[in-house]
């Protein structure tokens, strides 16, 4: 089970730079989720690793071996394509068997292996079908089975759940981590769905316009996003972003929302007086018990199954989303006030769009007090 290391990878199509100095490492047996909006270069990156595209610059090392001159068939990779890429003129069985056949295994052994992986993915009853006779979910599983069949040490999964229906996606999201863990392979999983990213990744690398903008654990990315863009990509409903200018007095660093003080981490002293953006996760807000919160008017309430999202408007006309678990008591209309869990509040520089990291050493934290 090798480690995968990408160094300074650059890929251009004509004058357009699709991957710009990308580098990261996936430790052996771990799953890295490559997350990013469409067009950010995720698929191109996978293709470079698989050998379907040749990068202009940089290194791809699998288990310490440079892959530059190694053709795709000798890289020992299993890959599932977003569009499935099933061979239309072969049965599901032959599709799944193709990596095994390439390894020139005996007939019985191939049959055994195909049936094992097909059973695992619950497609053993459709093995004799041609791809066009399969449902989308079955196609997706066949493509996955083909990638897994030869037990590759490096598995590349290109948004495999994108083209399947919501129910199956939910099921697979639960099944996949176990499946991948059983394989023991090093995995790169590409997705545009932040929930999938959070559920499947040991680590997440966020790719944006051809560059890795942040890499870290799912918790890192969610709680300490490097930029406004990343904060906005993760979380549903999306993070509330409010233009603020932090102030400081004897009580510490704070911002004003509708005249009310919202205390911030004392380490943010450097941001005082700057144009900033305050990021508040909808679930870090709650309706205040007392009247000393931020006064708001309730605009609309949207109940989801597991949570209720409320849109409120401050006195200055700023819209804020609040999320709470379904069934909890809360006002549903009229004027009320809200409180901020200030330890969860994020502060971004409005000019650079990146997060202002609290200075650990300096200042007293009013929020902690």
């Amino acid at each position: 089970m090798p480690e995968l290391r990408i160094e300074n990878l650059t890929k251009r199509f004509k004058s357009e730079t699709v991957l710009d100095d990308v580098g990261f490492t996936v430790e052996e047996g771990r799953t890295l989720v490559l997350f990013g909006p469409s067009g950010s270069g995720k698929t191109v990156l996978l293709r470079c690793i698989a050998g379907a595209e040749e990068p202009e610059d940089g290194h791809i090392l699998i288990g310490g071996h440079e892959m530059r001159e190694v053709p795709p068939e000798h890289r020992g990779i299993g890959m599932a394509f977003q569009n499935f890429a099933l061979f239309p003129h072969m049965t599901a069985f032959d599709n799944i068997a193709s990596p095994l056949a390439a390894r020139k295994l005996p007939r019985d052994r191939i049959r055994e292996d195909v049936e094992r992986v097909a059973k695992l993915l619950k497609i053993d009853h459709v093995l004799s079908h041609a791809p066009r006779a399969l449902s989308n979910g079955q196609k997706q599983r066949t493509a996955l089975a083909r990638a897994l069949a030869a037990a590759p040490s490096l598995l590349l999964l290109d948004d495999p759940l994108r083209n399947v229906d919501a129910k199956l996606r939910f099921e697979m999201r639960l099944e996949l981590p176990r499946l991948l863990a059983d394989q023991g392979a090093t995995v790169i999983y590409v997705t545009q769905d932040y929930k999938e990213a959070m559920a499947l990744g040991d680590r997440i690398a966020v790719l944006s316009a051809g560059q890795i903008t942040q890499a870290g654990t799912p918790e890192d990315i969610y709680r300490r996003p490097a930029s406004i863009e990343i904060a906005r990509l993760f979380g549903d409903p999306t993070i509330n972003l409010l233009d603020v200018v932090p102030e400081k007095d004897g009580g510490g660093v704070f911002v004003r929302l509708s005249g009310q003080r919202v205390p911030l981490d004392g380490g943010l002293e450097a941001a005082v007086g700057k144009d900033c953006v305050l990021g508040l996760r909808p679930e870090s807000l709650r309706f205040a018990e007392s009247q000393d919160g931020i006064p708001v008017t309730i605009e609309a309430e949207t109940p989801f199954n597991e949570k209720t999202v409320t849109l409120v408007v401050t006195e200055r006309g700023r819209e804020i989303l609040i999320s709470r678990p379904a069934g909890t008591e809360a006002p549903s209309e009229g004027k009320t006030s809200i409180e901020v869990e200030s330890s969860e509040a994020l502060l971004f520089d409005r000019a650079t769009q990146s997060r202002i990291v609290p200075d650990q050493g300096g200042g007293t934290s009013e929020a902690a007090a």
Partner: protein, 285 residues
């Protein structure tokens, strides 16, 4: 189609009948002619009533042409054999060369690839006489004039561009991911070409091959100029019926029927694939 009114159905039927009559009549007429003697053909006014005879076919197959003046030998069956040999070999060579070339043009954009592909296509719209004169001269110099080899070579001007351009479209329509997937699964480039690209472009290759065969079969001018009697195909061989003692319409008709029979049979058999193949290649899906 189900909700077509009766009038619409009738009009459609009539229109189709007219079209079929218009295009099928010459074939029908030539079959009739092939079953008559020269005398009944040349009656005025022409009549559909006659006593059918197989004399013309017998004459052609045995190679003995009997007119009332003299008897002469013709080598029509030899011409037919030449046609089959030339067409089959030309298409085989064109497929062997054209399919890999089409794949290269479809998958690898290299410097000048479009120019080369277009140059090959341009052979199809240059008038054959443009190349014939220089060809005749240097074929004589290098000893290729009046050889099957030389003719098959020249026939590539007809077959190769056709196969190249039709098959190229098919290869372009195959998702490159299918080939990537097969290679990543551990197969070599060559086996990916054989097991994925070739079978998936199969209908297109068959359609292109069939079209090329028909074009090669119908070719006249190349063989007329570059081949002497023993290498000539039917299209040129038919000229032999214009004899000093008159034109043998009956035998010409029988010869024409025999010479269109193979392509007609082939086209009828393969027309489903032909239509499917040609339209599949054109529509991206």
């Amino acid at each position: 189609m189900d909700h077509m009114s009766l009038t619409e159905k009738w009009l459609r039927g009539i229109a189709l009948t007219l079209v079929v009559l218009f295009f099928m009549f010459p074939i029908f007429w030539i079959v009739l002619m092939s079953l008559q003697t020269n005398e009944t053909i040349l009656r005025s006014p022409p009549s559909m009533v006659f006593e059918p005879t197989l004399k013309n076919y017998v004459a052609i197959i045995t190679g003995k042409l009997d007119s009332h003046v003299a008897s002469m030998d013709i080598a029509f069956m030899r011409n037919l054999w030449n046609s089959i040999l030339l067409s089959v070999c030309s298409v085989a060579v064109a497929l062997l060369l054209g399919v890999p070339a089409a794949y290269a043009f479809a998958r690898h954009k290299f410097r000048g690839s479009e120019d080369i592909a277009f140059t090959l296509l341009s052979f199809r719209f240059a008038p054959p006489l443009l190349v014939l004169l220089p060809l005749t001269i240097y074929f004589q110099d290098i000893g290729l004039a009046n050889t099957y080899f030389g003719l098959i070579w020249v026939y590539q001007l007809i077959c190769l561009p056709l196969i190249l351009w039709i098959v190229r479209g098919y290869f372009e329509d195959i998702s490159p991911d299918l080939e990537n997937a097969y290679r990543i699964a551990g197969h070599s480039w060559l086996s990916t070409f054989r097991r994925i690209a070739l079978p998936l472009a199969g209908p297109g290759i068959a359609a292109a091959g069939l079209l090329a065969f028909i074009f090669a079969w119908n070719n006249f001018i190349f063989a007329l100029v570059l081949a002497s009697a023993d290498k000539q195909p039917v299209t040129v061989g038919a000229l032999a019926f214009v004899t000093a003692s008159g034109i043998q319409y009956g035998q010409i008709a029988a010869a024409v029927v025999l010479s269109i029979a193979p392509t007609l049979a082939l086209a009828l058999y393969a027309q489903r694939y032909l239509v499917e193949g040609l339209s599949l290649g054109a529509v991206k899906g």
